[in-house]
Subunit: 426 residues, 2 copies
């Protein structure tokens, strides 16, 4: 059985590993990057606390000893279900079974001006772009005399009070507190403002009441201006225009206010659910096909426990990959279809970190809540465990230790001009 | 005394550190990058053995506690000696004393086709571009059916048999031997060729006969096709055309065959010596000025021991910076001009590494030569000592240890699409 997996995120990579060296399977793993990205730590790359390489793992390294998994560095362009083929920017690849695990990208809700001016943070490279922008900002500030223009430069607006928005604004506040005034003694950082805008009435709305309240308290303690019930209408690169017709001048906006599934061309529009996700049955099968599956952030599946779909988080993608790996093995063995596993998401808890010694953790069973230092330790331990590769784990740990002891994030490096590579095709 | 230093390489950074917190001095250090680059290890960044951040040190971090050194992230455009000012892409900066330490860049000898198609390696970013290119090359090779085209892709030509050319071709040969066949099991790496072309009769021509002979022997042992007495006429992106009218098909050419000084606009052409260097007297003063100095790779100074100029190496730049720091202090104290130091370069030795356990070291006093494992240990120890920052030193050491034990260079990551930053100016 030739299984083509599009996307090497948490779901796609897990499935490929589960099928690795399994008899009867030929696997092609297609991704537009040559590495797996550890998304939960993008914000630390953006704020110069971790190196991009620390949270990126070369795919070919994972499958060096594999007899049946091939890697293709290619971008999925279109699915041709009738021909059982996918079209990529490099080549056309045939499949017996296609698994769409292309995840989700930033949702600017169709506002192209916003998309042009705001910074998304859904890839390692986008995180690096934010890092470069932040550092460049303060370099540029030295030659700006106009006080209004300077203030615009010193205002950073983060939109979206979910885990990403909370984590990045917390990290920015720590940079403002511990690092930036030492690096740029000529600038007055009392004038730097970090705004966190959230449309709902609270931050971390998907977590417990306690976590929401604590996260806001922690953020405000660090000096973040948290604005709940605040909706952004537009951003022209100079002013963030809010729904209530006020505005905030800001040269930099980080947009973490929504995601949408990366649906490839070739699938019928009737299959698209809210959030640009693909409707699947309980086996992750895309409706109307018996050989196309979708999983993770891209999949929309209604189940008894989650009638409005599972949350778009890494554990859901991983659990679906496990379920699908089991079912594909049953299919390969031509087992009784009744033996196939139906998916139901098991929530093992959620967490977010705000700053040093400050995090929140919710656990469903037993129902527990942790805050502050204990939560922060749990958060660190778990993330260290989940990072792929002994070397990455060691480097992340050492970077964290270094940052913790020195109150410093010292990867403040602007590596620009990468476009040379682009114009040099063989 | 306001001292403006253009360039934070080995010479410029050393001088700024020597003047750091010294009474009577106001220092502005101008560089187009926000970090100091450790040039001797570019080749390990290019071959995925080290992270770019491991050999880059944020300038603002060095001078965090400085009372008198300011950093400007700016590119020197022009010197206006009559007005005692320099023009940068950001602002105009006045000086009492100007020190030009802008180093040297790759010399393509006026061949724009060569400059367009060949890869230089004179900055961290250029090293990353080579890394990306190499990895992308083998990804692309999977979809190429034409055997001639495939061979062109599998041929890598390094031009220049100096330390850079020797080190990069040695590292490429080790990738071919230990890493690439594991990463790309579908490709046949017996067909991969690494050519090292050198115009002179031997590699490492500036070192001892023993080192030249050993380096060539080591390279050939690793499978590099060393071609001495071989001059490149042109490169069109497809074929390397040689002076003897033969050619080598190659999609990738790394050009390490010459450097030229980065002379800013505004200086008279009569000041330019061979290699595009600026003529200076024994005090590093640019001829005709008493307040403009040049040092390091950019400076051309004739001395009794080096009547054709000192070699363009880091120790010469550092020694000149030390001399100049002393002389500027004497000037500031209005000492007798006779007390000023005249420069003479002290050669403490030279070295190059070819691969694991393979290096060559020449020492002048006492006259000693080391090869193989001992030389390799000396090379490693010295480079570890010279890298700026405890954390960088630790990470480089750990990466080397990891690479040595595992026979692996595992930073095989393609971080592309950095140009977004470029188009987003505040």
């Amino acid at each position: 059985m030739k299984v083509v997996i599009a996307g090497a995120g948490f779901g796609g990579l897990r499935l490929a590993r589960k099928l690795n060296n399994k008899a009867g399977f030929e696997v092609v793993l297609v991704d537009k990057f040559n590495y797996h990205q550890f998304q939960p730590l993008f914000y630390q790359v953006a704020t110069a606390g971790l190196d991009a390489s620390n949270i990126s793992f070369p795919l070919r390294k994972v499958f060096q000893k594999s007899k049946n998994v091939k890697i293709r560095l290619a971008e999925l362009k279109e699915v041709l279900p009738a021909e059982k083929k996918i079209v990529t920017d490099i080549e056309t690849i045939s499949y017996d079974v296609l698994v769409l695990a292309t995840g989700a990208d930033t949702n600017f809700f169709g506002n192209s001006q916003l998309a042009h001016h705001a910074f998304p943070m859904k890839s390692t490279v986008e995180a690096l772009q934010i890092r470069h922008r932040l550092l460049k900002l303060f370099e540029d500030a030295h030659s700006i005399a106009d006080p209004l223009e300077l203030q615009r430069l010193m205002n950073i607006v983060v939109v979206g009070g979910g885990p990403t928005g909370v984590e990045v604004s917390g990290a920015l506040a720590e940079m403002k507190k511990y690092v930036l005034p030492k690096d740029y003694p000529e600038l007055d950082f009392s004038r730097m403002n970090i705004y966190l805008l959230e449309g709902a009435g609270k931050t971390l709305a998907a977590m417990s009441e306690k976590s929401s309240a604590q996260s806001q308290k922690y953020l405000e303690k660090l000096g973040v201006k948290v604005m709940t019930n605040t909706l952004v209408k537009d951003y022209d690169g100079k002013e963030v225009h809010l729904k209530d017709n006020t505005s905030i001048p800001a040269a930099t906006v980080i947009w973490a206010a929504g995601i949408k599934g990366n649906i490839p061309a070739g699938l019928d529009e009737s299959l698209i659910a809210k959030g640009n996700r693909i409707k699947t049955d309980r086996y992750c099968r895309v409706q109307g096909f018996d050989n196309i599956y979708a999983l993770g952030d891209l999949a929309y599946m209604e189940t008894p426990k989650y009638p409005a779909g599972h949350p778009q988080v890494a554990p859901a993608a991983i659990q679906q990959a496990d379920m699908l790996a089991g079912n594909l093995k049953l299919l390969e063995q031509k087992s009784n279809p009744d033996r196939m596993y139906q998916f139901e998401y098991t929530d093992k808890g959620s967490m977010a970190t705000v700053g040093r010694n400050l995090a929140v953790v919710d656990m469903p069973k037993p129902k527990l809540h942790f805050g502050g230092f204990v939560a922060w330790l749990i958060w660190m331990g778990l993330h260290l465990m989940l990072i792929l590769g002994v070397k990455n784990r060691f480097f992340v740990f050492f970077n964290w230790l270094y940052n913790y002891i020195t109150y410093d994030q010292n990867l403040r490096l602007i590596f620009r001009e990468f476009n040379r590579e682009e114009r040099r095709q063989p």
